[in-house]
């Protein structure tokens, strides 16, 4: 007979203010197998834990039930308590009477107490059927994968590399740099974005521990912490990067003109192009989706010989390339090439996208002079489409009046309810940069309120006011298109208490940062989950901000939520530190709450094999017959096979049939 100790936590008033904890304790006293019942103000406090330790030490207790908060946060704490007291830490069960009790039933104290009793009975029922389990350990592959080569990914990779770990840095664009590479200057210091980022990009590219995989995507992820098998797809570049020197001759020669994404579609690039001037690696790619095949021959065929000259007729890019890196006679697979790598940890740093203006019908999206802030960033950048001159898109004339509109798609139930956090500051930055350069341009900032809570941010904002930038408190509700491509902003000034209008030459929409739709695909491959806003969910919003529910996978940057560059870099370094732990330890613990096949009972029907999401179950011959076996390093303990096994031969440790049935019995027993 087990000796179960039941410890009821008051959690200050959190539980005791609603649940009659003494009543619950008394109830627990008479449950089968219970030998000790106690209460404490805070079970997780030192005295609370000491109470448990002493009862174990004095032999009163060999199973522990703590009725308190959620096991999702506190189970590890109490398991450690058991371990320290010399009891197997898996002989522990929690009854969640706070998060799922007192906090949600404060309106019904009697009901909350009655429910708490049942939950305790359920936990006691399970505890009586618990068995000791042993942790196992496996070696960690000493390498990391960083997905995303923006500022978050670059810093994560560099930190790990500097600690001595091998890092694969995967970026789907031809160059690393991400969104930060598109920015002109950065707030609140007005540093040139490229000037501070480029050296870091180069450092990452040259670091002996970092292997840069650009134009690449993650095709598949298998495995588990310490031993992930990742399949990387290197997309077809149609340029031999071993030969390409990044001279740009092909881009100049290419006759195609297509919208240049890097410049927000405000100028053109060729089908052969280099991502941007400071690209790292600086290599050309050919975008086959827009290539017009100017020499008129299929890929993978020998060139036609000109009758006139007797020379082969080459495409403009081939002809221009001085190093022979572009050769259309090679048959290059359009789907690129696959490569498998093994890593111990993964950092996801896939970044964000900004909402396009087409999402906002009320803001005259058809007007060429309504642009997003990211486009404005390119428009004022020295490497941008106008070489840094501020010219409005419709007629390339200098604007006289500019309106900035905030909270476009953010804080808006029709789009995203969250604040994108950086819009106020980058609007102010852009306004200041414009004002510094062109003091005669009138600038209106339409804001619900200004959010400038960072270090030196408010000062930065105050200076903008000093420079004569007009702040109008009030959200813009609509726009009218005036002759000559002007846009009349229909606004409201909360302070004036009156409607206002601005006849603007340009309107800049501070559109929201959002998770790109491609994130869904990646999430499915890795097993990441999303928060309510659609960003990747961290394991705990406060205490585990870079960890995820998938052990060994970490988050950095805006894929976890909107943030500015300092916060991104901080988080990237944090993620690197967290990811380094398993790499440094060299071993990871395998949770023993996983499935195990009782080979004697297995009938070899094979029902379980197609069910396992991790292909952890294989059929092996045992006494001449096929029998299922589970690879403990692959199994993550979901229990799908356990529920499916027709021979009841698969046991999920920690969640056995007997344990769950005993919980059901306790919950349905007449109260």
């Amino acid at each position: 007979m087990s000796k179960i100790g039941v410890y009821v936590c008051h959690c200050g008033e959190n539980i005791a203010g609603v649940v009659d904890v003494e009543d619950v304790r008394q109830y627990a006293e008479q449950l089968d197998g219970v030998t000790v019942t106690r209460r404490n103000l805070f079970m997780c406090s030192d005295p609370g834990q000491e109470m448990i330790r002493q009862d174990i030490a004095s032999g009163l207790v060999d199973r522990v039930v703590v009725a308190a908060c959620t096991p999702r946060t506190h189970e590890p704490i109490f398991r450690t308590t058991l371990e320290k007291a010399g009891l197997n830490k898996y002989l522990f069960e929690m009854a969640n009477i706070r998060d799922q009790g007192s906090w949600v039933h404060a309106h019904d104290k009697y009901g909350a107490t009655a429910k708490a009793k049942r939950i305790v009975a359920s936990a006691v029922g399970k505890a009586a059927n618990l068995h000791p389990l042993e942790d196992k350990f496996v070696d960690v592959t000493p390498a990391a994968l960083v997905i995303g080569g923006g500022v978050a990914g670059i810093f994560s990779a560099l930190e790990l590399a500097k600690m001595g770990h091998k890092v694969y840095l995967v970026e789907k664009q031809p160059s690393i740099g991400g969104a930060m590479a598109m920015l002109d200057k950065t707030f609140p210091t007005n540093d040139c974005s490229a000037c501070i980022l480029t050296p870091v990009m180069v450092e990452a590219a040259n670091h002996p521990n970092i292997e840069l995989l650009t134009c690449s995507e993650v095709a598949d992820v298998n495995g588990y912490i310490g031993n992930f098998n990742v399949r990387i797809r290197k997309n077809q570049t149609y340029v031999d990067w071993n030969k390409c020197t990044g001279c740009g001759a092909c881009a100049e020669a290419c006759p195609v003109r297509t919208a240049n994404e890097f410049n927000g579609g405000m100028d053109h690039r060729g089908a052969a192009y280099i991502h941007f001037p400071q690209a790292v690696p600086k290599k050309a790619v050919v975008d086959m989706s827009v290539c017009i095949n100017c020499a008129g021959r299929k890929l993978g065929t020998e060139p036609r010989i000109s009758k006139k000259t007797g020379q082969p007729v080459l495409a403009a890019c081939e002809k221009a390339c001085p190093s022979g890196a572009i050769d259309r006679s090679h048959h290059l697979p359009a789907e690129g090439t696959l490569r498998d790598i093994e890593v111990g940890v993964i950092i996801v740093a896939t970044g964000y996208q900004v909402m396009e203006k087409e999402n906002f019908p009320e803001y005259a999206p058809d007007s060429p002079n309504v642009i997003t802030a990211l486009q404005m960033e390119r428009l004022i950048s020295a490497t941008g489409p106008t070489g840094g001159k501020l010219l409005r898109p419709s007629d390339h004339r200098k604007p006289r009046t500019i309106s900035f509109v905030s909270c476009v798609g953010s804080r808006d139930v029709r789009h995203h309810t969250y604040c994108s956090r950086v819009c106020c500051m980058y609007m102010i930055k852009q306004a200041r940069l414009i004002k510094e350069k062109y003091p005669d341009i009138r600038i209106f900032m339409h804001v619900i309120d200004v959010r400038a809570p960072g270090k030196d941010f408010d000062e930065y904002y105050t200076r903008a006011r000093d420079m004569g930038i007009t702040f109008v408190k009030g959200k813009v509700g609509g726009m009218e298109i005036l002759p000559a491509d002007q846009v009349r902003v229909l606004g409201y000034d909360v302070d004036l208490g009156s409607n206002i209008e601005v006849d603007a030459d340009m309107v800049v929409l501070a559109s929201a940062m959002e998770q790109p739709p491609t994130a869904k695909l990646l999430a499915r491959k890795i097993g990441l989950s999303f928060d309510g806003a659609g960003f990747f969910k961290e394991l705990h919003p406060k205490l585990k901000p870079v960890e995820t529910a998938v052990e060994g996978v970490f988050l950095a940057g805006c894929c976890q939520g909107p943030k500015d560059i300092p916060d991104t870099v901080s988080q990237a370094k944090g993620a690197a530190a967290a990811a380094a732990i398993p790499l440094c330890q060299g071993k990871v613990r395998i949770d023993p709450t996983i499935s195990e096949v009782d080979t004697e009972k297995c009938s070899g029907c094979g029902i379980c094999t197609p069910l396992c999401p991790y292909n952890a179950i294989v059929l092996k011959t045992y006494s001449g017959r096929p029998r299922a076996m589970i690879d403990i390093t692959q199994c993550k303990g979901c229990g799908v096979c356990t529920a499916a096994c027709p021979s009841a031969a698969i046991l999920l440790h920690g969640y056995t049939d007997v344990q769950i049935l005993s919980q059901i019995a306790a919950l349905t027993r007449a109260a």
Binding site: P365, E480, I481, L482
Partner: protein, 302 residues
């Protein structure tokens, strides 16, 4: 022949029956049969029941819709305001079963039951989405080529878009009426106050001064930015405001121009060669001159 229940409202049959006549005469030429909704009442107007009690409003609106239900036709309204009221009422009833049951209890006093089987459309929706610009274009005998039209789509046809079966691609920059005018050969240059309010209805009855100011702002934008030959609308309220209040503004000396005003089907009727004495006969802002120009030989299509 496709049928629609013609919901006339109040202003059209009593103040602008030439619009009613234009419906009756143009739709058959487009292959649409206009079915009368015998015994229809006011939609009811925003300032009446909707401003007092939601269920009374919905009972009166749904009673009107039941007239179409029993004829097994969808409703076609000529007035934006009627459309807005009926479409919102239908949306509320169809999305709230509890509300529908309450309203049906009220309706039972009039021995009627609302089922939700008839849709609510506006004349502009029927013209644009059911009939289509090709048929309209084919029905015209006269062209409006080189005539400039200031379009006035009116507000209740645009918002809230959630309640509408037929939606503009961008309700803030509507194009349906423009396309309908293009079908007749007219030009429809953009003017900035396209979507600002005409000032009719509740605003005018509450404070005529402010309502006239609102209209003036809009008229000036039309005049100064595009100097149109005429104003065309598909809202009978806007129509009356542009026609009648434009005169008031002129009388007060606030404006010194007169832009003729047409309801879209009046213009269509003229292009179809119908008799102006029946389809465009009542107005306070003169339009005889432009009517003669429209139905002139030069504009006759072969």
């Amino acid at each position: 022949m496709e049928q629609f229940g013609m919901y006339l409202g109040c202003n059209i049959p009593f103040n602008a029956p030439d619009i009613e006549q234009s419906f009756r005469q143009t739709f058959p030429n487009l292959g649409v049969e206009v079915v009368d909704l015998q015994g229809a009442t006011c939609c009811p107007a925003w300032g009446t029941a909707p401003s007092f009690d939601i269920n009374t409003w919905l009972a009166i609106s749904s009673r009107n819709i039941t007239l179409a239900e029993s004829e097994q036709v969808d409703i076609m309204t000529g007035c934006n305001s009627c459309f807005g009221i009926l479409a919102e009422a239908k949306h509320m009833l169809d999305h709230d079963p509890g509300r529908k049951a309450q309203v049906n209890r009220l309706l039972s006093k009039a021995d009627r039951k609302y089922s939700g089987s008839s849709e609510v459309y506006h004349v502009a929706h029927v013209l644009h989405n059911k009939i289509g610009v090709e048929k309209i274009n084919a029905s015209a005998k006269y062209t409006l080529r080189q005539l400039k039209v200031a379009v006035q789509p009116g507000c209740h046809l645009l918002w809230p878009s959630a309640v509408m079966k037929v939606k503009e691609k961008n309700p803030f920059f509507p194009t349906m009426l423009k396309e309908l005018c293009h079908a007749l050969g007219a030009e429809t240059p953009h003017y900035s106050r396209l979507e600002s309010c005409c000032g009719m209805g509740a605003m005018r009855s509450t404070n005529q001064e402010r309502a006239l100011d609102t209209l003036k702002d809009k008229l000036k934008s039309m005049k100064e930015e595009i100097d149109p030959d005429m104003i065309v609308t598909t809202c009978s309220s806007c129509y009356l405001q542009f026609d009648n209040a434009q005169k008031l503004l002129r009388d007060k000396g606030e404006i010194d121009f007169a832009i003729p005003v047409f309801y879209y089907t009046q213009l269509l009727a003229l292009c179809q060669g119908l008799d102006p004495a029946q389809v465009a006969a009542i107005s306070e802002t003169p339009r005889d001159e432009i009517i003669v120009r429209i139905q002139s030989k030069q504009r006759l299509l072969n």
